[in-house]
Point group: C2
Chain length 559, copies 2
Amino acid sequence: MQLANSVQLTFLGGMAEVGKNIFVLETEDDLVVIDFGLGFPDESQPGVDVVLPDVAYLKERRDKIRGIFITHGHEDHIGALPYLWSEVRAPIFATRLTAGLITGKMREVKLDRDIDLRVFDPDDHPVLAAGAMTIEPFRVTHSIPDAVGFGITTPAGLIVHTSDFKFDPTPVDNKPTDYATLEAFAERGVKLLISDCVHVETVGETLSERVVGETYEQVFAQAPGRIIVATFASLIARIQQVIDVAGSQGRKVATLGRSLQNNVRIAQELGYLTDPNSVLVDARDAHKLAEDKIVFIVTGSQGEPMAVLSRIANRDHHEIQIHDRDTVIVSASPIPGNETSVYRIIDQLFHQGAEVIYSAIARVHVSGHASGDELRRMIGLVKPEHVLPTHGEYRHLALYADLARELGYDDDHIHKVGPGDVVTIFSERVSVTDRIPTGRIFVEGRSMNTVDEEMLSHRSNISQEGLITVAVAIDLEAGQVVGDPQIASVGVSIHLEKPPLDEMKIALRESLEKMLEQGTVSLERIENRIRSVTASYVYRGHRRRPRIQPIVLLVSPVT
Amino acid sequence: MQLANSVQLTFLGGMAEVGKNIFVLETEDDLVVIDFGLGFPDESQPGVDVVLPDVAYLKERRDKIRGIFITHGHEDHIGALPYLWSEVRAPIFATRLTAGLITGKMREVKLDRDIDLRVFDPDDHPVLAAGAMTIEPFRVTHSIPDAVGFGITTPAGLIVHTSDFKFDPTPVDNKPTDYATLEAFAERGVKLLISDCVHVETVGETLSERVVGETYEQVFAQAPGRIIVATFASLIARIQQVIDVAGSQGRKVATLGRSLQNNVRIAQELGYLTDPNSVLVDARDAHKLAEDKIVFIVTGSQGEPMAVLSRIANRDHHEIQIHDRDTVIVSASPIPGNETSVYRIIDQLFHQGAEVIYSAIARVHVSGHASGDELRRMIGLVKPEHVLPTHGEYRHLALYADLARELGYDDDHIHKVGPGDVVTIFSERVSVTDRIPTGRIFVEGRSMNTVDEEMLSHRSNISQEGLITVAVAIDLEAGQVVGDPQIASVGVSIHLEKPPLDEMKIALRESLEKMLEQGTVSLERIENRIRSVTASYVYRGHRRRPRIQPIVLLVSPVT
């Protein structure tokens, strides 16, 4: 359904989930894409490295796409570009730092010369044309510099998209959220506010990023030897604070980890990271300094197994071995799902003698997202007719709806929508008018689509109970089992006292031969018989239900 | 090493881990066991239901064991009894509620008539004989009634073991921690304090359990329809508060979930749970009441997949289907590692329309463990010469050591020990003098020892990359591959374009036949060749490294 003076809004990702942010605004002739992010797998997706949104919807509408407008340079907003930009090949609009990060990513897949990347500066207050729509970026504070939201003028009215934001009153780059533009939008009249909601559980206001710098000052001053700071590669503001505090205390700083080094290089080249006292040194030179003269910034604050911090904790890093004068700062909060691996690393570091400072005991991390009071303040500033929370799980959407209700919005003006819901913004109302299928693409290493949901479910099942493979050679002409059935197992013991394996093999052979005697049988029937005989033996003996994999080799008499 | 006037202390579990608490105090002729708990698996132990300590050390010393002294009725302190008590068959000493819970567990494995269970009342200040040692229990407040610590008089001096404790000033059962006895111990002179430390990360004091009741009052008063409270089956004090608040607001209470119903029955029989207004009703009767007249208490607050709350959230519970007048209170904090499953359930409940109240947004849970100030207060009360933290991961042990250092203890008087470390308490010093091997036993369903660490590691590997099975029938006499090799896969796609499966089968056959032509070959060499040919094909085509399971069927010519 598409009516004049209306606009359709569809979330291909980032709705009722945290990750792979991408949504679409669409009129009859024009389409804009906001963000192009990836997601990370949960525990039901073992072996998967990243999860991508399905952009089939965009591919079908390629001719309508006026641009991909990026809010900021985090993976969950730009990470799908290297994998899927080729499917749409639309121009990409971004701020300077974000563009630098995108270029870096596209270079790795040799697409940096193919993309049409258009840099805008939000301080110029540009009005970017997108067919029947126009896009006005405005600065927001977040945990990466050069982050913006968008005011999107559509035939159905003005839509304000906050993207990821907080109202940091003292941002490290001294560039606060652009209140003036938000107020100007309010004066023009805002039809719909699309708001970040992921930190709605927290009351009050999110602390300023500068609080982390204050903690660094205290911890650095007391550290007797080396300092190792683990944080997100994209947290440029935090890296800046490490550089500043280290400089003021006479320490040098070295970075370890590829993504971190890439981001630092890009941010330095573009002027988003400054090193006035030349404290940044190469890691090789750092080791020549006295231990109380050095800070290492490393990757792996989320417990990623191949990152630097994990390797240090596992005593598997060739440059850094922990000893009892080391201070390690894990300058991040564990993202839900990562707690076990993060705490395992913290425990290992303590065990090796380090003093470890982490978010449960010190202010070494603050969120980049608005807490309750800031979400209310955004509504108060923008004064939208309708609100629609995004960038959250169902609980965040529901709590944001509660918050809007307290501010006087009724259920016709609060829109809790799901993935793929098509929200039509008419001049007089906003409602869900359709639903499109949304999918996800699993990436393992560099391969897309090598696994699907069914295979992932098989992987999980095997990891719970193990697998028994039973191979039988059968001569169909002679109606005989040839040789001995062979049994192999993974992740499950079949070498236990009861039932004896030989007994099971004999039973299996007898059962199959009886079946073959009765005439022609299908491969499927033979496989099913192998499954049932094996399963019942294993269950009787061990009360376990491992997966059974039958393999039938059809052999003919050797002549 | 065993000297006169010394005593050995060994942690068979519960040290540098949270779970399976069990330790041993031992003189030349006598041995006492403190607690007999189980642990829960972490994500590296898929398919495992519970983890038990290895009690081989106790079995070898069965004749010396004077008793198993239990501090309280939580699974991590009593849960190994049904599985492993038969290995030691020593008398069990416990308070009345704890004894009731133990009897319930032992009945399930038909051992309730075998055990020699001796009930003590801490209010009588008994002095329990244990050979050369005596045990004096003292009340502590925790998240289950009738919890105690022990003062243990040994030839090397008085040892005070706090067990799990907090200083709840207003416990729901009105039985506070026994300050007088702790002070009396201090006057007698305490050689060593063995202290809980798991909540050391939190500053200040842990809130009283009564705070949860206050939240219940507010939430119950506002709930328009049914209320569903999920909590731990052992949290008798919380169940009492649900009953009290429900009663005062004219609601009835029904319990769902076997472990919860068992505990409620035992606690009621023994007088630890009172229902003066007869609000407890059978679940079948509850459904006949108006929705605003009922509270359900259910199991599954940790996201356990088979428990009631999970089944409700999955729309898989035959009695309760969520609708938008329901209020669900998840009255627990996710234990580290359970966050993902707990939040998934909360999201599903919100999605189905319920109002969900959980620990991130309301005071519906308080810890049963002492925070920093309480841990300091315990040291101040007991005035021990030496301190030794237990019931924590390495980070908790290290932070407790920091706390003790701040109170003036030096490193010779703070003992951070590991699992299996033998700590000898001499009259003049305390030190680690030996280490014994400690193990763990994995339980799947009702089977012990069906999996070992290696099998668990195979399960995890397959869940990451999948498994390819390649079966080949070989006639060794003829030196030939018989029939077609068969290939099957689980959790990985081998049906992709490249390389074609047929091509791989041909290459495999050729490679094996070349090998066979060269003379007699071992089964192992054939299997290795299957592995290497398959692995290299799969890697070349897909850059994946699934596990390869070769199966060789030796067949003879059919005559």
